[in-house]
Point group: C2
Chain length 204, copies 2
């Protein structure tokens, strides 16, 4: 089984890399699809599941779901239930065959599948430029920078519920790709070959 | 001009990647060669130049070489002179054509050449295993771990004299390659293609 996961900073082009890489490999890319399936399972809106952040996680005593936080505190609410369900959906999809996951802490969820875990990042200015080009609601530079910070912080926070391996730290990943100043489309053939090499080089 | 620089953690296999990548691309790989040339220029031993660390850098007032440290302190001694000379040698070699540099802060020195800057790293256990396999003087695990720490600290420190871009931080590099649990030889075809892709993708 050859599973690739893509973690990414907001605005770095990680989602585009995931989609293009999956296309080039002829395998499915899972991103919003996971969210939709989870949302349907729980009667939640996709927007709700997509935007779960740490502020949605409430601590309750006692509970049977979640990791301990401090000595005896557990968390459990619909956000946690949705996250747990998302993990099951990710595992189910991974079991079906080779694929690419974008975000959703898939690298942590799928550790037993030994996936190739890639992190995509870029300089702040490059990310801002990318977001400004794609802004559809006339967002200002300041608004986008704020959104960037908020989303990355949320990704790191939600991830901490799943694993001790820190979001965005190079040690967590097998390959970290800086998209600053480079055309993302051009990187894909290189990433395809790198992925093949990496899977072939496993088991030393 | 297509220049590739390899920064690396001690024991991660960065030097092997550099050599193999250069071989696969049919270009020269510069590493010890730089040291030897610099050493000869200054009548120093290659071992001395190879092992310049922060403790060799003394602060003197006044001087004309070096960056300010604090308000008015400059540094200048034979270690700094050798480092400055090493920079000239690196630029001279880069001007001669496509090539790969391993270490020596080449990514910082060659910024104007727009090189592809790769950082090679691995988990501590993977690096230790690699070093133990290559240990020729019967070093103990403890000794190798100490050596690892000392050399990486020295690399980071000497680098700080050249640039504000931190050694080993993913933001400093275009690609970060984790060699943990993977056969280095197998990664090379992937890295060759990635390098080609990256150079083709420049100029977005």
């Amino acid at each position: 089984m050859r599973i690739i996961t893509i973690g990414r900073e907001f605005g770095s082009g990680g989602r585009e890399i995931g989609k293009r890489l999956a296309d080039a490999l002829g395998v499915p890319c899972y991103d919003k699809e996971i969210i939709h399936e989870v949302a349907i399972l729980h009667g939640l809106s996709p927007e709700y599941v997509d935007n779960i952040s740490m502020k949605d996680i409430q601590f309750v005593y006692p509970s049977t779901i979640g990791r301990t936080f401090g000595a005896t505190a557990y968390y459990n609410n619909s956000a946690i239930t949705a996250l747990a369900s998302q993990q099951e959906v990710i595992k189910k999809l991974a079991s079906q065959g080779d694929c690419v996951f974008v975000g959703r802490g898939a690298d942590a969820v799928l550790e037993a599948f030994n996936p190739l875990n890639i992190f995509v990042y870029a300089d702040k200015d490059a990310k801002l430029k990318r977001c400004m080009e794609r802004a559809t609601d006339g967002e200002t530079e300041k608004e986008i920078l704020k959104q960037m910070q908020r989303i990355d912080k949320s990704r790191a926070g939600v991830r901490n519920l799943l694993t001790d391996k820190a979001w965005g730290k190079k040690e967590t990943y097998h390959l970290c790709v800086n998209t600053t100043g480079v055309e993302i489309k051009a990187l894909v053939p290189g990433l395809v070959e790198y992925a093949k090499s990496w899977f072939e080089g496993q088991g030393e």
